[in-house]
Symmetry: C2
Subunit: 246 residues, 2 copies
């Protein structure tokens, strides 16, 4: 019933007023993707608030992946509306993992849930699926660990996108980002990387084959085993919230 961006009974903080104004502009369509906000000084004068408050609001929107601020002049300058839900969700999840309020095990479990669903619903004619196939090809010939892992991230994101649900895709990406450092550290625990990589490649082939075979149920099971197997082999310890901290 309540909403954290609207305080009904006590005075709204100034930057929240700016936030609400911008959100209204977005909702009404007067501010669309790719559009530019008025300059900070102009917006401040227009709304009769200080530039400080405008900047605080913009900072929040930037953290939410809604705008991007660029200095100088020209096309890349000014504050423009973008759409990067993954950034917002990822940062938020990562911070809450840092406070030990969101267990890494729950994140992995959620990733399994979302990705299983996604591959079960993947459309075989999806461009994202074609991209996944291409990435898999690259991984066949790739023997550099870091590059392999980077390709692996993009492969799984492409799989998630193949279902055509933007929310699921964004959440998958954010989960990945939130445990990025964790997964990286886990890789160092693997006893034999080459053997693991070979297994991963084989499993990727099986997953794609199941999808192209229109066997969504089998694909989902394979993906779940693929992810859980990796974390299990690397020795996931849910109690440690962030092994990669400095």
């Amino acid at each position: 019933m309540w909403s954290n961006h609207i305080k009904y009974h006590w005075p709204m903080r100034t930057h929240q007023l700016v936030l609400q104004w911008i959100e209204n502009q977005l909702s009404s369509g007067e501010l669309a993707l790719g559009g530019r906000l008025p300059a900070e000084r102009m917006l401040a004068e227009q709304l009769q608030v200080s530039r400080t408050s405008v900047r605080e609001a913009i900072r929040v929107l930037e953290a939410m992946g809604v705008v991007r601020a660029g200095v100088g002049s020209g096309p890349d300058a000014g504050t423009v509306v973008i759409a990067d839900p993954t950034a917002a969700l990822g940062s938020a999840l990562r911070l809450h993992v840092a406070t030990s309020h969101l267990p890494v095990a729950d994140i992995v479990q959620t990733r399994v849930l979302l990705e299983s669903w996604a591959v079960a619903r993947a459309r075989t004619d999806s461009p994202a699926l074609a991209e996944a196939a291409g990435l898999m090809e690259k991984m066949e010939a790739c023997h550099d660990t870091d590059e392999f892992l980077a390709l692996d991230v993009r492969f799984h994101l492409a799989l998630a996108e193949a279902a055509g649900n933007a929310v699921v895709s964004a959440m998958m990406g954010s989960l990945r980002e939130a445990i990025q450092s964790y997964a990286g550290k886990l890789t160092a625990n693997l006893p034999d990387w080459e053997a693991t990589a070979a297994r991963l490649r084989a499993e990727h082939r099986e997953i794609l084959a199941a999808i192209n075979n229109h066997d969504g149920g089998r694909a989902a099971g394979l993906v779940a085993a693929h992810i859980e197997g990796y974390y299990k082999e690397a020795g996931l310890d849910p109690r440690d919230s962030d092994p990669a901290r400095q």
Copy 2:
């Protein structure tokens, strides 16, 4: 491989430096839940930055549901660490729905996915499940539409929590928040509210019965039908991003 909060090659903005410092404090445990950040002026001097930059960082953390800022003196004053992942995810989703980048239909579909999974995994001895049962009892006797809807929100959140996955719970809550206004407007479209309410009550009973019967698969199917049925009856139109805007 990239991360939006770490810019490797060009100078980091000052508020991001502050953000990183605070995140490190959180990760290392020096700053825990319920703990208080140094006063803005102190932190500014300590990190050798302006108070403005400190404030921008705190504003971001506040939007992420990581801290809460309170004026005055005493226990409620100062900037203290909280843990409200739902707020962050909810605001982010809502904003991106406003930009028409996240279709409402995808949000509903994701909600079905998460909630089905949650009830399938619900533990019958979970306190959240007991709470859900209590809420259902209240709804049996409730004939006020707004109150009924409020209870319904809490009922479904309790169901989601019964699976014991904090990430899934947070995401469920945020999805709810993001389409709150949308769902409210849809309710007005219903031809016969009393009839709908009666159906919802019956379905709630069936869902809880299936869970307590340890029939997770049936519970999941019932929940999916329950949610999809509601939106279908109210006439979900995925193209309209936010019917409740001013």
